[in-house]
Symmetry: C2
Protein backbone atom coordinates (compact mmCIF):
# COMPACT_ATOMS: atom_id res chain seq x y z
CA UNK A 1 0.00 0.00 0.00
CA UNK A 2 1.37 3.37 -0.90
CA UNK A 3 -0.71 5.48 1.44
CA UNK A 4 0.21 6.46 4.92
CA UNK A 5 -2.28 6.77 7.70
CA UNK A 6 -3.05 10.49 8.21
CA UNK A 7 -1.87 11.73 11.57
CA UNK A 8 -4.23 12.83 14.30
CA UNK A 9 -4.21 16.52 13.34
CA UNK A 10 -5.00 15.76 9.73
CA UNK A 11 -7.86 13.50 10.70
CA UNK A 12 -9.20 16.09 13.09
CA UNK A 13 -9.03 18.77 10.39
CA UNK A 14 -10.67 16.50 7.85
CA UNK A 15 -13.43 15.42 10.11
CA UNK A 16 -14.26 18.66 11.86
CA UNK A 17 -13.66 21.28 9.22
CA UNK A 18 -15.75 19.92 6.41
CA UNK A 19 -13.03 18.99 3.95
CA UNK A 20 -13.68 15.27 4.20
CA UNK A 21 -15.34 15.54 0.80
CA UNK A 22 -12.06 16.75 -0.72
CA UNK A 23 -10.08 14.07 1.13
CA UNK A 24 -12.37 11.38 -0.31
CA UNK A 25 -11.99 12.74 -3.84
CA UNK A 26 -8.19 12.77 -3.43
CA UNK A 27 -8.32 9.21 -2.11
CA UNK A 28 -10.43 8.07 -5.06
CA UNK A 29 -7.97 9.60 -7.54
CA UNK A 30 -5.07 7.87 -5.78
CA UNK A 31 -6.95 4.56 -5.87
CA UNK A 32 -7.67 4.95 -9.60
CA UNK A 33 -3.96 5.54 -10.18
CA UNK A 34 -3.09 2.39 -8.25
CA UNK A 35 -5.84 0.00 -9.28
CA UNK A 36 -7.96 1.56 -12.00
CA UNK A 37 -11.48 2.96 -11.59
CA UNK A 38 -13.04 -0.33 -10.52
CA UNK A 39 -10.64 -0.44 -7.57
CA UNK A 40 -12.44 2.47 -5.94
CA UNK A 41 -14.76 1.67 -3.02
CA UNK A 42 -16.15 4.05 -0.41
CA UNK A 43 -14.66 1.87 2.34
CA UNK A 44 -11.17 2.05 0.85
CA UNK A 45 -11.45 5.81 0.28
CA UNK A 46 -12.56 6.20 3.91
CA UNK A 47 -9.56 4.21 5.11
CA UNK A 48 -7.22 6.41 3.08
CA UNK A 49 -8.87 9.55 4.48
CA UNK A 50 -8.51 8.20 8.00
CA UNK A 51 -12.21 8.17 8.84
CA UNK A 52 -14.70 5.47 9.72
CA UNK A 53 -16.34 3.53 6.90
CA UNK A 54 -19.64 5.22 7.79
CA UNK A 55 -18.31 8.80 7.47
CA UNK A 56 -18.25 9.05 3.63
CA UNK A 57 -22.00 8.56 3.47
CA UNK A 58 -22.51 12.08 4.72
CA UNK A 59 -21.00 13.25 1.41
CA UNK A 60 -21.56 10.48 -1.13
CA UNK A 61 -24.49 8.12 -1.17
CA UNK A 62 -22.46 5.36 -2.79
CA UNK A 63 -19.31 4.55 -4.69
CA UNK A 64 -20.77 5.73 -8.00
CA UNK A 65 -21.51 9.16 -6.51
CA UNK A 66 -17.85 9.50 -5.51
CA UNK A 67 -16.73 8.35 -8.96
CA UNK A 68 -19.14 10.81 -10.57
CA UNK A 69 -17.48 13.61 -8.59
CA UNK A 70 -14.04 12.53 -9.83
CA UNK A 71 -15.31 12.24 -13.41
CA UNK A 72 -16.90 15.70 -13.11
CA UNK A 73 -13.57 17.20 -12.08
CA UNK A 74 -11.96 15.30 -14.94
CA UNK A 75 -14.38 16.79 -17.48
CA UNK A 76 -13.87 20.24 -15.98
CA UNK A 77 -10.07 20.02 -16.33
CA UNK A 78 -10.52 18.45 -19.77
CA UNK A 79 -12.75 21.31 -20.95
CA UNK A 80 -10.17 23.82 -19.72
CA UNK A 81 -7.44 22.00 -21.61
CA UNK A 82 -9.25 21.83 -24.92
CA UNK A 83 -10.44 25.42 -24.62
CA UNK A 84 -6.83 26.52 -24.13
CA UNK A 85 -5.66 24.40 -27.07
CA UNK A 86 -8.25 25.82 -29.41
CA UNK A 87 -7.06 28.83 -31.31
CA UNK A 88 -8.83 32.12 -30.74
CA UNK A 89 -11.79 32.87 -32.97
CA UNK A 90 -9.70 34.73 -35.54
CA UNK A 91 -7.66 31.58 -36.30
CA UNK A 92 -8.31 29.06 -39.03
CA UNK A 93 -11.24 26.82 -38.06
CA UNK A 94 -9.49 23.63 -39.15
CA UNK A 95 -6.34 24.48 -37.16
CA UNK A 96 -8.61 25.07 -34.18
CA UNK A 97 -10.12 21.61 -34.57
CA UNK A 98 -6.64 20.09 -34.83
CA UNK A 99 -5.63 21.84 -31.61
CA UNK A 100 -8.62 20.30 -29.85
CA UNK A 101 -7.66 16.85 -31.16
CA UNK A 102 -4.08 17.18 -29.94
CA UNK A 103 -5.35 18.27 -26.52
CA UNK A 104 -7.69 15.26 -26.36
CA UNK A 105 -4.79 12.89 -26.94
CA UNK A 106 -2.52 14.83 -24.60
CA UNK A 107 -5.11 14.56 -21.84
CA UNK A 108 -5.44 10.78 -22.24
CA UNK A 109 -1.66 10.52 -22.07
CA UNK A 110 -0.99 12.85 -19.14
CA UNK A 111 -4.10 12.16 -17.03
CA UNK A 112 -4.77 8.45 -17.49
CA UNK A 113 -6.56 8.14 -14.12
CA UNK A 114 -9.00 10.99 -14.86
CA UNK A 115 -9.48 9.83 -18.46
CA UNK A 116 -10.31 6.38 -17.16
CA UNK A 117 -12.73 7.76 -14.53
CA UNK A 118 -14.45 9.90 -17.18
CA UNK A 119 -14.87 7.22 -19.81
CA UNK A 120 -14.38 3.81 -18.21
CA UNK A 121 -15.40 4.34 -14.60
CA UNK A 122 -18.95 3.07 -14.88
CA UNK A 123 -20.53 6.49 -14.33
CA UNK A 124 -22.41 8.16 -17.13
CA UNK A 125 -23.30 11.77 -17.96
CA UNK A 126 -26.57 10.35 -19.26
CA UNK A 127 -27.75 9.68 -15.70
CA UNK A 128 -26.05 12.47 -13.71
CA UNK A 129 -27.14 16.04 -14.41
CA UNK A 130 -24.12 17.81 -12.94
CA UNK A 131 -21.69 15.47 -14.67
CA UNK A 132 -23.64 15.99 -17.87
CA UNK A 133 -23.19 19.77 -17.62
CA UNK A 134 -19.40 19.45 -17.26
CA UNK A 135 -19.25 16.97 -20.14
CA UNK A 136 -21.43 19.31 -22.21
CA UNK A 137 -19.01 22.19 -21.69
CA UNK A 138 -16.27 20.15 -23.34
CA UNK A 139 -18.53 18.95 -26.13
CA UNK A 140 -19.73 22.50 -26.90
CA UNK A 141 -16.16 23.57 -27.67
CA UNK A 142 -15.85 20.78 -30.22
CA UNK A 143 -19.31 21.44 -31.63
CA UNK A 144 -18.57 25.12 -32.05
CA UNK A 145 -15.34 24.37 -33.94
CA UNK A 146 -17.29 22.02 -36.22
CA UNK A 147 -19.93 24.69 -36.85
CA UNK A 148 -17.23 27.14 -37.94
CA UNK A 149 -15.80 24.60 -40.37
CA UNK A 150 -19.22 23.59 -41.65
CA UNK A 151 -19.94 27.18 -42.66
CA UNK A 152 -16.95 27.11 -45.01
CA UNK A 153 -17.95 23.86 -46.76
CA UNK A 154 -19.85 23.54 -50.06
CA UNK A 155 -23.57 23.11 -49.40
CA UNK A 156 -24.00 19.89 -51.34
CA UNK A 157 -21.43 17.88 -49.39
CA UNK A 158 -21.62 19.27 -45.89
CA UNK A 159 -23.13 17.40 -42.93
CA UNK A 160 -24.90 18.64 -39.77
CA UNK A 161 -22.39 20.08 -37.30
CA UNK A 162 -23.66 17.71 -34.60
CA UNK A 163 -22.86 14.71 -36.78
CA UNK A 164 -19.41 16.13 -37.54
CA UNK A 165 -18.76 16.64 -33.84
CA UNK A 166 -19.86 13.09 -32.97
CA UNK A 167 -17.62 11.67 -35.69
CA UNK A 168 -14.58 13.73 -34.72
CA UNK A 169 -15.14 12.91 -31.04
CA UNK A 170 -15.35 9.20 -31.83
CA UNK A 171 -12.23 9.28 -33.97
CA UNK A 172 -10.33 11.25 -31.29
CA UNK A 173 -11.56 8.96 -28.54
CA UNK A 174 -10.58 5.86 -30.48
CA UNK A 175 -7.07 7.10 -31.29
CA UNK A 176 -6.54 8.33 -27.71
CA UNK A 177 -7.89 5.17 -26.05
CA UNK A 178 -6.16 2.69 -28.34
CA UNK A 179 -2.81 4.31 -29.00
CA UNK A 180 -1.98 7.10 -26.57
CA UNK A 181 -1.86 5.39 -23.21
CA UNK A 182 1.61 3.95 -22.84
CA UNK A 183 1.70 0.23 -22.16
CA UNK A 184 -2.06 0.05 -22.50
CA UNK A 185 -1.50 0.92 -26.17
CA UNK A 186 -3.14 -1.71 -28.34
CA UNK A 187 -0.57 -1.77 -31.10
CA UNK A 188 2.60 -0.04 -32.15
CA UNK A 189 1.71 2.49 -34.84
CA UNK A 190 4.10 3.99 -37.39
CA UNK A 191 3.33 7.63 -36.47
CA UNK A 192 2.54 9.48 -33.21
CA UNK A 193 -1.18 9.27 -32.32
CA UNK A 194 -1.48 13.05 -32.83
CA UNK A 195 -0.44 12.64 -36.47
CA UNK A 196 -2.73 9.66 -36.97
CA UNK A 197 -5.67 11.70 -35.70
CA UNK A 198 -4.76 14.76 -37.75
CA UNK A 199 -4.54 12.70 -40.96
CA UNK A 200 -7.87 11.00 -40.21
CA UNK A 201 -9.54 14.32 -39.47
CA UNK A 202 -8.26 15.86 -42.71
CA UNK A 203 -9.47 12.89 -44.80
CA UNK A 204 -12.85 13.11 -43.06
CA UNK A 205 -13.15 16.85 -43.75
CA UNK A 206 -12.12 16.29 -47.36
CA UNK A 207 -15.03 13.83 -47.55
CA UNK A 208 -17.27 16.77 -46.63
CA UNK A 209 -15.85 18.95 -49.39
CA UNK A 210 -13.06 20.67 -47.48
CA UNK A 211 -10.06 21.59 -49.60
CA UNK A 212 -6.89 22.57 -47.72
CA UNK A 213 -5.56 25.99 -48.69
CA UNK A 214 -8.85 27.18 -50.11
CA UNK B 1 -22.10 -11.67 -3.43
CA UNK B 2 -23.83 -13.49 -6.23
CA UNK B 3 -21.67 -16.58 -6.32
CA UNK B 4 -22.36 -19.77 -4.48
CA UNK B 5 -19.63 -21.88 -2.96
CA UNK B 6 -19.03 -24.87 -5.27
CA UNK B 7 -19.91 -28.16 -3.66
CA UNK B 8 -17.34 -30.76 -2.74
CA UNK B 9 -17.62 -32.70 -6.01
CA UNK B 10 -17.14 -29.61 -8.10
CA UNK B 11 -14.10 -28.60 -6.14
CA UNK B 12 -12.66 -32.09 -6.38
CA UNK B 13 -13.22 -32.12 -10.14
CA UNK B 14 -11.69 -28.71 -10.51
CA UNK B 15 -8.67 -29.43 -8.44
CA UNK B 16 -7.84 -32.98 -9.47
CA UNK B 17 -8.82 -33.11 -13.11
CA UNK B 18 -6.91 -30.17 -14.44
CA UNK B 19 -9.80 -27.84 -15.29
CA UNK B 20 -8.98 -25.32 -12.60
CA UNK B 21 -7.64 -23.10 -15.35
CA UNK B 22 -11.08 -23.00 -17.00
CA UNK B 23 -12.76 -22.45 -13.64
CA UNK B 24 -10.52 -19.44 -12.99
CA UNK B 25 -11.26 -17.96 -16.42
CA UNK B 26 -15.00 -18.40 -15.80
CA UNK B 27 -14.62 -16.76 -12.39
CA UNK B 28 -12.73 -13.82 -13.89
CA UNK B 29 -15.46 -13.27 -16.49
CA UNK B 30 -18.12 -13.36 -13.77
CA UNK B 31 -16.12 -10.86 -11.70
CA UNK B 32 -15.75 -8.52 -14.70
CA UNK B 33 -19.51 -8.66 -15.18
CA UNK B 34 -20.10 -7.80 -11.53
CA UNK B 35 -17.35 -5.28 -10.84
CA UNK B 36 -15.54 -4.42 -14.05
CA UNK B 37 -12.05 -5.58 -15.06
CA UNK B 38 -10.29 -3.92 -12.15
CA UNK B 39 -12.41 -5.99 -9.77
CA UNK B 40 -10.57 -9.14 -10.79
CA UNK B 41 -7.98 -10.52 -8.37
CA UNK B 42 -6.47 -14.00 -8.29
CA UNK B 43 -7.61 -14.41 -4.68
CA UNK B 44 -11.23 -13.62 -5.55
CA UNK B 45 -11.15 -15.89 -8.61
CA UNK B 46 -9.74 -18.67 -6.38
CA UNK B 47 -12.55 -18.18 -3.88
CA UNK B 48 -15.14 -18.42 -6.65
CA UNK B 49 -13.50 -21.58 -7.99
CA UNK B 50 -13.50 -23.09 -4.49
CA UNK B 51 -9.75 -23.54 -4.22
CA UNK B 52 -7.07 -22.12 -1.93
CA UNK B 53 -5.62 -18.71 -2.74
CA UNK B 54 -2.32 -20.44 -3.58
CA UNK B 55 -3.81 -22.83 -6.17
CA UNK B 56 -4.23 -20.33 -9.09
CA UNK B 57 -0.48 -19.73 -9.22
CA UNK B 58 -0.01 -23.14 -10.84
CA UNK B 59 -1.85 -21.71 -13.85
CA UNK B 60 -1.41 -17.94 -13.79
CA UNK B 61 1.60 -16.13 -12.43
CA UNK B 62 -0.45 -13.08 -11.49
CA UNK B 63 -3.74 -11.28 -11.97
CA UNK B 64 -2.62 -9.78 -15.29
CA UNK B 65 -1.87 -13.24 -16.68
CA UNK B 66 -5.43 -14.30 -15.87
CA UNK B 67 -6.82 -11.11 -17.43
CA UNK B 68 -4.66 -11.66 -20.51
CA UNK B 69 -6.23 -15.11 -20.90
CA UNK B 70 -9.73 -13.58 -20.71
CA UNK B 71 -8.77 -10.85 -23.19
CA UNK B 72 -7.29 -13.47 -25.52
CA UNK B 73 -10.56 -15.38 -25.54
CA UNK B 74 -12.36 -12.10 -26.10
CA UNK B 75 -10.24 -11.30 -29.16
CA UNK B 76 -10.74 -14.82 -30.45
CA UNK B 77 -14.53 -14.57 -30.20
CA UNK B 78 -14.36 -11.03 -31.59
CA UNK B 79 -12.35 -12.17 -34.64
CA UNK B 80 -14.90 -14.93 -35.28
CA UNK B 81 -17.71 -12.39 -35.09
CA UNK B 82 -16.22 -9.89 -37.49
CA UNK B 83 -15.14 -12.64 -39.90
CA UNK B 84 -18.74 -13.91 -39.98
CA UNK B 85 -20.09 -10.37 -40.50
CA UNK B 86 -17.77 -9.64 -43.39
CA UNK B 87 -19.22 -10.55 -46.75
CA UNK B 88 -17.49 -13.22 -48.82
CA UNK B 89 -14.78 -12.07 -51.20
CA UNK B 90 -17.15 -11.67 -54.12
CA UNK B 91 -19.17 -9.00 -52.27
CA UNK B 92 -18.71 -5.25 -52.47
CA UNK B 93 -15.63 -4.21 -50.49
CA UNK B 94 -17.36 -1.23 -48.87
CA UNK B 95 -20.34 -3.35 -47.77
CA UNK B 96 -17.84 -5.76 -46.27
CA UNK B 97 -16.23 -2.97 -44.25
CA UNK B 98 -19.66 -1.83 -43.07
CA UNK B 99 -20.43 -5.38 -41.92
CA UNK B 100 -17.24 -5.37 -39.85
CA UNK B 101 -18.18 -2.04 -38.29
CA UNK B 102 -21.65 -3.27 -37.32
CA UNK B 103 -20.11 -6.38 -35.79
CA UNK B 104 -17.65 -4.25 -33.79
CA UNK B 105 -20.50 -2.26 -32.28
CA UNK B 106 -22.61 -5.37 -31.76
CA UNK B 107 -19.78 -7.01 -29.85
CA UNK B 108 -19.34 -4.01 -27.53
CA UNK B 109 -23.09 -4.09 -26.87
CA UNK B 110 -23.56 -7.83 -26.34
CA UNK B 111 -20.25 -8.68 -24.67
CA UNK B 112 -19.47 -5.67 -22.46
CA UNK B 113 -17.37 -7.74 -20.03
CA UNK B 114 -15.13 -9.17 -22.75
CA UNK B 115 -14.93 -5.82 -24.54
CA UNK B 116 -13.85 -4.21 -21.31
CA UNK B 117 -11.25 -6.94 -20.61
CA UNK B 118 -9.86 -6.57 -24.15
CA UNK B 119 -9.59 -2.81 -24.19
CA UNK B 120 -9.81 -1.49 -20.62
CA UNK B 121 -8.48 -4.37 -18.53
CA UNK B 122 -4.93 -3.12 -18.17
CA UNK B 123 -3.44 -5.91 -20.30
CA UNK B 124 -1.88 -5.08 -23.63
CA UNK B 125 -1.21 -7.05 -26.81
CA UNK B 126 1.98 -5.01 -27.05
CA UNK B 127 3.50 -6.97 -24.14
CA UNK B 128 1.87 -10.40 -24.53
CA UNK B 129 2.76 -12.43 -27.61
CA UNK B 130 -0.17 -14.84 -27.53
CA UNK B 131 -2.67 -12.05 -26.91
CA UNK B 132 -1.04 -10.12 -29.73
CA UNK B 133 -1.61 -13.00 -32.14
CA UNK B 134 -5.33 -13.17 -31.30
CA UNK B 135 -5.66 -9.39 -31.61
CA UNK B 136 -3.76 -9.53 -34.93
CA UNK B 137 -6.21 -12.06 -36.35
CA UNK B 138 -9.03 -9.54 -35.84
CA UNK B 139 -6.98 -6.64 -37.20
CA UNK B 140 -5.99 -8.59 -40.33
CA UNK B 141 -9.66 -8.96 -41.28
CA UNK B 142 -10.11 -5.21 -41.13
CA UNK B 143 -6.80 -4.56 -42.91
CA UNK B 144 -7.71 -6.91 -45.71
CA UNK B 145 -11.09 -5.18 -46.21
CA UNK B 146 -9.26 -1.83 -46.39
CA UNK B 147 -6.80 -3.21 -48.95
CA UNK B 148 -9.68 -4.31 -51.17
CA UNK B 149 -11.23 -0.84 -50.99
CA UNK B 150 -7.91 0.91 -51.52
CA UNK B 151 -7.43 -0.93 -54.80
CA UNK B 152 -10.60 0.65 -56.15
CA UNK B 153 -9.66 4.24 -55.21
CA UNK B 154 -8.06 6.85 -57.51
CA UNK B 155 -4.29 6.83 -57.08
CA UNK B 156 -3.92 10.51 -56.26
CA UNK B 157 -6.22 10.49 -53.23
CA UNK B 158 -5.76 7.04 -51.73
CA UNK B 159 -3.91 6.37 -48.47
CA UNK B 160 -1.91 3.36 -47.26
CA UNK B 161 -4.23 0.49 -46.28
CA UNK B 162 -2.61 0.35 -42.82
CA UNK B 163 -3.50 3.99 -42.20
CA UNK B 164 -7.04 3.40 -43.41
CA UNK B 165 -7.38 0.41 -41.08
CA UNK B 166 -6.08 2.37 -38.09
CA UNK B 167 -8.50 5.22 -38.82
CA UNK B 168 -11.51 2.94 -39.29
CA UNK B 169 -10.57 0.98 -36.16
CA UNK B 170 -10.30 4.19 -34.14
CA UNK B 171 -13.62 5.51 -35.43
CA UNK B 172 -15.33 2.17 -34.73
CA UNK B 173 -13.77 1.92 -31.28
CA UNK B 174 -14.79 5.46 -30.42
CA UNK B 175 -18.41 5.00 -31.52
CA UNK B 176 -18.65 1.60 -29.80
CA UNK B 177 -17.04 2.76 -26.53
CA UNK B 178 -18.88 6.06 -26.28
CA UNK B 179 -22.34 5.24 -27.57
CA UNK B 180 -23.04 1.50 -27.70
CA UNK B 181 -22.79 0.39 -24.10
CA UNK B 182 -26.15 1.02 -22.53
CA UNK B 183 -26.02 3.16 -19.42
CA UNK B 184 -22.32 3.70 -19.91
CA UNK B 185 -23.24 5.64 -23.04
CA UNK B 186 -21.71 9.09 -22.93
CA UNK B 187 -24.53 10.98 -24.60
CA UNK B 188 -27.84 10.32 -26.26
CA UNK B 189 -27.30 10.44 -30.01
CA UNK B 190 -29.97 11.06 -32.66
CA UNK B 191 -29.26 7.85 -34.62
CA UNK B 192 -28.24 4.30 -33.66
CA UNK B 193 -24.45 3.95 -33.23
CA UNK B 194 -24.33 1.62 -36.25
CA UNK B 195 -25.71 4.41 -38.45
CA UNK B 196 -23.35 6.98 -36.95
CA UNK B 197 -20.39 4.73 -37.75
CA UNK B 198 -21.60 3.96 -41.25
CA UNK B 199 -22.04 7.65 -42.07
CA UNK B 200 -18.58 8.47 -40.66
CA UNK B 201 -16.98 5.64 -42.61
CA UNK B 202 -18.63 6.77 -45.87
CA UNK B 203 -17.51 10.38 -45.38
CA UNK B 204 -13.99 9.15 -44.62
CA UNK B 205 -13.90 6.96 -47.74
CA UNK B 206 -15.24 9.84 -49.83
CA UNK B 207 -12.27 11.84 -48.53
CA UNK B 208 -10.07 9.18 -50.12
CA UNK B 209 -11.81 9.50 -53.46
CA UNK B 210 -14.48 6.83 -53.07
CA UNK B 211 -17.69 7.54 -54.93
CA UNK B 212 -20.71 5.40 -54.00
CA UNK B 213 -22.25 3.58 -56.94
CA UNK B 214 -19.16 3.89 -59.11
Amino acid sequence: MSWRRPDHDERKRGYHHGNLREALVDAAMALIGERGPEGVTLAEAARMAGVSTAAPYRHFKDRDALMAEVAKRGFSRFADRIRAARHPDGADAVESLMGIGRAYIGFARSEPALYSAMFEGGVSPATDGELRREADRAFEILLSACERIRNTLPEDTRAPALMMALHIWSLSHGVASLFARGDRGRRAIPVPPEDLLEAGTLIYLRGLGYEPGK
